[in-house]
Subunit: 226 residues, 2 copies
DNA sequence: TTTGAGCGTCATCAGGTGGTAACAACGGAG
DNA sequence: CTCCGTTGTTACCACCTGATGACGCTCAAA
């Protein structure tokens, strides 16, 4: 069997070395990055089976890396490494799509057990192309079409639609949507979500006046019908 | 807020008390057992959404409880509570089907975060849908239907129904209902509860004149029959 | 520098929501 | 049987929410 590839994004060289050593000893293939930007880039190009992600990073924060990984439609498990006392951060990270976290200093045995468990659990396959009615969303190609005709979406529109496809069938609050699609950078009103939904509807709904794909959930937010 | 049921299997009364307190404060419903046999029995009958399981138990060991839960085909997440230095046991536990573990003494915040994460992840697979007679309430999608036909509820009506499903079988005062559904913000008469109940009945009762789901409790308030 | 796309904000508007009030129905006490 | 407090029901309408067009800011490309 081909060894599983793990990407470690960690700026502390000592910790990185220890991790690499242990992971390789356990039979994994390891790649690493020392800052957020490089890490995100490698996650995109290497498509590792799992990402070990330090929260405190130069460049992009761990949160931002995690969010962008999900925005890009990458579905591998993400384990966050946090220092003691960063518990509040952890909850946010889990909301952004992280699967687990480990608090430094950690026992290497514990970490290895968690990694093994996540990889085992994750061996279900997630399709790259999603069909909703006559709509086709190709996450790999980042392309949307209906009956063969491509629909041009702006980056934000696509990000929103991609998020919807991942949470399809569930009622989503505007806050959840903002957090996942806009990220922490933006100081943005939740009216912006409304606006983005309107324009997205105008492009992907057969009849934008009576939306069938994106339902409004009054007082809450929206629900995508998968 | 979610009405999820958590089963705690723990023989140390002090720890049990603390867990129960914190879990309830976080909005979970809690049941507990003091030994392995009783715990397994409750897991089978109550079908909780998540099990907190001490490793060292009188009667059946935690490992054995975990194994038998999986043998019975129960799929809820299991979190093991282990003492320091039981790391070797942990790997065994994970192999037996546990989803996570926490080492005592643990930070309560960390434990709560893990629990929340597991429940969230698990909901993806198994939607939390409640059936009451022919009525179906999908809390994730925020949707209500009977025999496949969707029932359109206004936000307030849905909130009221959702609250009822969480407190089903108990008589609720109008004040309790106002508190939970309207929140402290609103300066509202308790006649508003009556009115909301009436409209809700007209939508979800088979025969609104002889309500079977929402019973009036004279001088007190209402009771939802689950 | 110009230009244009993307996107966040604002103002406006339509429609829905839900609180109040007013009255009817009910039921228990005396 | 009558009275009175409680609950059911309906009508009304003030207020809020979400949809949408317009505007302007920013950034990158030409």
């Amino acid at each position: 069997m081909k060894p599983e590839l793990i990407l470690v994004i960690e700026d502390d060289a000592a910790i990185l070395f220890g991790l690499r050593d242990n992971l390789q000893r356990a039979g994994y293939e390891v790649r690493s990055a020392g800052d957020g930007h490089q890490g995100l880039e490698l996650a995109r190009t290497l498509r590792p089976h799992l990402v070990l992600l330090d929260l405190m990073l130069p460049g992009l924060s761990g949160h931002e890396v995690c969010r962008r990984i999900r925005v890009d439609g990458l579905e591998m498990p993400v384990v966050m490494l946090t220092a003691l006392g960063e518990e509040a951060q952890v909850v946010r990270g889990l909301n952004l799509g992280a699967d687990d976290y480990v608090t430094k200093p950690f026992g290497i045995g514990e970490l290895m057990a968690r990694i093994a468990a996540l990889l085992r659990r994750h061996r279900r396959v997630i399709p790259d192309v999603v069909h909703i009615g006559s709509l086709e969303v190709d996450r790999g190609a980042r392309r949307v079409s209906r009956k063969g005709a491509e629909i041009e979406l702006t980056p934000k529109e696509y990000g929103l639609l991609e998020f919807f496809t991942r949470k399809s069938g569930r009622a989503l609050t505007r806050e959840q949507i903002l957090d996942a699609v806009w990220g922490d950078s933006a100081a943005v009103t939740d009216r912006s979500v409304d606006r983005a939904v309107t324009t997205l509807r105008s492009k992907i709904e057969e009849n934008p006046n009576r939306p069938s794909l994106i339902q409004t959930v009054p007082q809450v937010g929206y629900r995508f019908e998968g």
